[in-house]
């Protein structure tokens, strides 16, 4: 095949032209094999630049295109679109990064020019061996599966449901509402919350685009963004699982409290009137704060950070709801004395701090302490502790509220296994990137919201539910076809030895094993082209399209020659 490679060098205004002698680069590249045209342009990503490129490709009947410009992160897609417009397969194009990796990192114009020549030669060496890759399109299903009927799942379901998008909301308990439905008020605003949650549940119930499955669990979820096959099973009935197809999945499985019985020094489960924060929320919601014997407590102690040492992380919300408890107590029993035993107070943000200052004024003790242990003394509870000055002290109280750490719900591991979403060191679902992709997971189309990815307050949970809904609404549009990754991996049947190593390293569940042929097979629609299988394959059977051995070899050869 006769190759006609066009090389276009972008001056990027002064960004590249000031640091690289572009004319010298053109002289060096021009005589190169298969190169039929080398040109420079002021700004190739501009409207004029794109038009120029498109005309050049057509006019010179180019078979391959090399653009020497900025990082592929910046404009690879731009130039691939130009190729498409000029009817050149966009994968017959290679971008040489002579800005970030060259012009911007040195003051030495001579060296920068030499490196630019190498990088462009490497791109030419590589592009020669590129093959056309064709886009594929698949139908997508706009419906969404939401796992977990707490505030996160409720909010996401309400955001997503519409006539052309069904939502299936699966809750393992018998009712919706999660932890939040037990809360009388929210912290900061001290606004009623359980009523609002009940309203939202009512809205869900009357919304005909939301189908709620209570007492149910997801048994299976196989597939890929736009097309997951899901099985839902009722937990206490011997019925056949319900089979559904959805385009996206939201994990909103929430969190649960660390069991304080694991730290027996707090006396939970041993002594009366030692409650967890959730026990106390529930009691408060009844409107009456009472001791076991039916009398009203005169003093209450709140112990923070229960289980923090075991879990090795701060649960973020306990300090704030502990302050809220003080408000509950003072509102209902104005004369009550309240002590807070804490090791560190975590009160971030502009409004939280104010809430703390205001709560502190209500004649409450904040005692920084360690080595807390609880014993029974008469009808009361005795808290032994070491204070900030290392003095051993004790205090008598009527009631103790423990603020335990939050931990993943016990079905998290099963859901992780079913969906293939990995978990972090603490057992919560792991996001794709903690800062840049905080609600996405390694599997496209599966999102995590709320406490399922770590302790979180209600407003952050709502924000995440809205964010995940936004992602789904903008990408999973009814009727629109999906374009899966084309730079996928494939496994050579003649090289594959059937060791299944690739199955164990594939993050996307994209590889299946053909038992008849004893070889691994990649499902190209699920494969995201990460390259794990290529790196791990002991017999060199796995290859990624567009990163073939020969393409890399030729690129490297030119770069180091």
């Amino acid at each position: 095949m006769e190759r006609k490679i066009g090389v276009y060098i972008c001056e990027c205004g002064p960004n590249i032209s000031e640091k690289i002698d572009i004319d010298k680069v053109i002289d060096a590249i021009s005589p190169y094999e298969d190169v039929s045209v080398v040109e420079k342009f002021k700004l190739l990503c501009s409207a004029d630049g794109k038009k120029f490129l498109e005309e050049q490709i057509k006019k010179n009947k180019l078979t391959h295109l090399v653009v020497a410009a900025c990082s592929p992160k910046e404009h690879e897609k731009t130039f691939m679109e130009v190729c498409e417009n000029a009817e050149l397969n966009p994968y017959l194009f290679q971008l040489a990064n002579i800005r970030e990796q060259c012009a911007w990192i040195t003051e030495d114009k001579n060296e920068a020019t030499k490196k630019a020549i190498r990088l462009i030669k490497a791109a030419i060496g590589r592009v020669r061996y590129h093959s056309s890759l064709e886009k594929i399109e698949i139908d997508s299903i706009p419906d969404v599966l939401v796992i977990g009927g707490g505030i996160a799942g409720i909010e996401a379901s309400l955001q997503l449901a519409r006539p052309d998008r069904k939502v299936y909301l699966v809750e393992k308990t018998s009712s919706l509402g999660g932890l939040v439905k037990n809360f009388e008020k929210t912290f900061l605003g001290m606004k009623p919350v359980s009523d609002i949650v009940n309203e939202k549940i009512h809205e869900i119930e009357k919304n005909e685009n939301i189908k709620v499955f209570t007492d149910s669990e997801v048994e299976e979820a196989i597939g890929f963004f736009g097309n997951f096959e899901v099985n839902i099973k009722r937990t206490n009935e011997e019925t056949e699982p319900v089979e559904l197809s959805v385009g996206a999945v939201i994990l909103a499985t929430g969190a649960t409290l660390f069991n304080p019985e694991k730290n027996p020094e707090y006396g939970y489960g041993k002594f009366d009137n030692v409650l967890t924060s959730l026990d106390f929320e529930k009691m408060n919601l009844t409107g009456k704060i009472l001791l076991k014997d039916g009398t009203t407590p005169k003093s209450v102690s709140i112990i923070h950070c229960v289980g923090r040492k075991d879990k090795e992380y701060c649960s973020e919300i306990c300090c704030m709801y502990s302050l809220k408890f003080i408000r509950y107590l003072k509102d209902k029993l104005p004369n009550i004395s309240v002590q807070n035993f804490y090791s560190d107070l975590v009160i971030p943000g502009k409004t939280d701090q104010k809430f703390y200052e205001e709560t502190k004024e209500k004649n409450v003790d904040f005692i920084r302490s360690s080595n807390i242990s609880v014993a029974k003394k008469g009808n009361q509870l005795n808290i032994n502790y070491t204070d900030e000055n290392n003095n051993k002290k004790s205090l008598l109280t009527d009631m103790i509220i423990l603020s335990p750490a939050l931990e993943p719900t016990n079905d998290a591991s099963k859901i992780a296994e079913i969906t293939g979403v990995s978990r972090d060191d603490e057992g919560f679902f792991a996001e794709e990137h903690e800062k840049l992709n905080p609600i996405s997971t390694s599997t496209e189309g599966i999102y995590i919201v709320g406490c399922a990815k770590g302790p979180k307050n209600i407003s952050d949970t709502i924000v995440q539910a809205e964010a995940a809904s936004g992602k789904i609404l903008s990408s999973l549009i009814p009727g629109r076809k999906l374009e899966p990754e084309v730079k996928t991996s494939y496994i050579s049947e003649s090289f594959c030895i059937g060791c299944k190593t690739c199955l164990s390293v594939c993050s996307y569940g994209a590889i299946i094993f053909d038992e008849a042929k004893k070889v691994s097979v990649v499902n190209e629609v699920i494969c995201r082209g990460c390259g794990n299988c290529v790196a791990a394959c002991p017999s060199g059977a796995a290859t990624i399209k567009h990163f073939k051995f020969n393409q890399l070899y030729q690129e490297l050869r030119e770069a180091v020659k």
Partner: protein
Amino acid sequence: MNKLKGALIHVKSNIGNTIIDLLEKSIDKGIFDAVIVPMKVPAGDSFVYVLVKDKSLIKDGVPLPPTMFVQGAKAVSSVTRLGEGNMKIAAVIRPCETRATIELSKFGQTNLENFTIISMDCPGVLPTSDFLKDPEKNMEIFNEAVKNWDDKKMRPVCQICDKSSMVSGDLHIGTLGAKKDTCFIISNSEKGNDIAEKLGINLKDNLDSWQTQVKKLSEEKKKKRIKAHKELKSKVEGIDNLVESFSQCINCHNCMRVCPVCFCRLCYFDSDKVKHNADDYLTRAEIKGSMRFLPDTTLFQMGRMMHMSLYCVSCGACEDACSMDIPVAQIFSMIADQTQGLFDYVSGRSLDEPVPLVAYKKEELHEMEDAND
């Protein structure tokens, strides 16, 4: 890892016959349906692995043959490469063959579900070319060497083998440290314990004398190994020496074909991927001034080294098969010690040890990081 358990038993005439006896008894008791054991070929000049179903033929087995014509792991793998069978089979193979079998099992190239591996303290094997010069005489030389644990005539890698008593199969016959007319039966797995129980062998004896002797021998060999590798390194280190070392390679790929852990179905170097068009060769000749043919012989060796050194068990089969007398096994054993050492990995030590390519550790290989970081 399993704690070794063992029993001291009486040896009838020689170790070989004791193993044969055990196999026969096991067949009688229905523990195994068949055995894989080396046998002498009718011509008397070679030994092959035979899958024996007829109990009366087991007596012809030679559990400790003087040479290794076929690496035992290849025999075991041939039987179960396509999955476990219904038959319970015992294979009598050497420790390096056992280790290669374990590696193959990690890559799904053999299925050990219904297999019991029986190994023994290994005195080494004679190079096949030496053996073939006079099989009868060499059989005597080998038997004599076994008695005195003398490795001077064995394969060069056997002479520096520090894992000749490594137990990684199910049962192991220990002769080191055992008094005259006795040997140890050592179990390394539940399967092994089970078989011993069915055979009425009580695994309660003290293994100290065997372990002490194994440790002593292994330490001596380790010293020899380090010394030999050091000398070898000076000869092959650097690109010029490396090319020189493999300069006689005729690209026959014998080393690859006999290698027990060369598990690829199709060798990359046998595939069309290494066949280039004339223009490519011309370009290469132009860059270097000239180009030798057959091309890429050193590349083949290095490619194989890159693939296999993590799993190499230093059995020496490649070197025996090399018609050009290139010390392939010695070079591979040196590289293997280093690459496996990087990952604290010993090929074939245990079935439970994942191969380094898939074992993810958060903290490792800091020594490979840029010193300026």
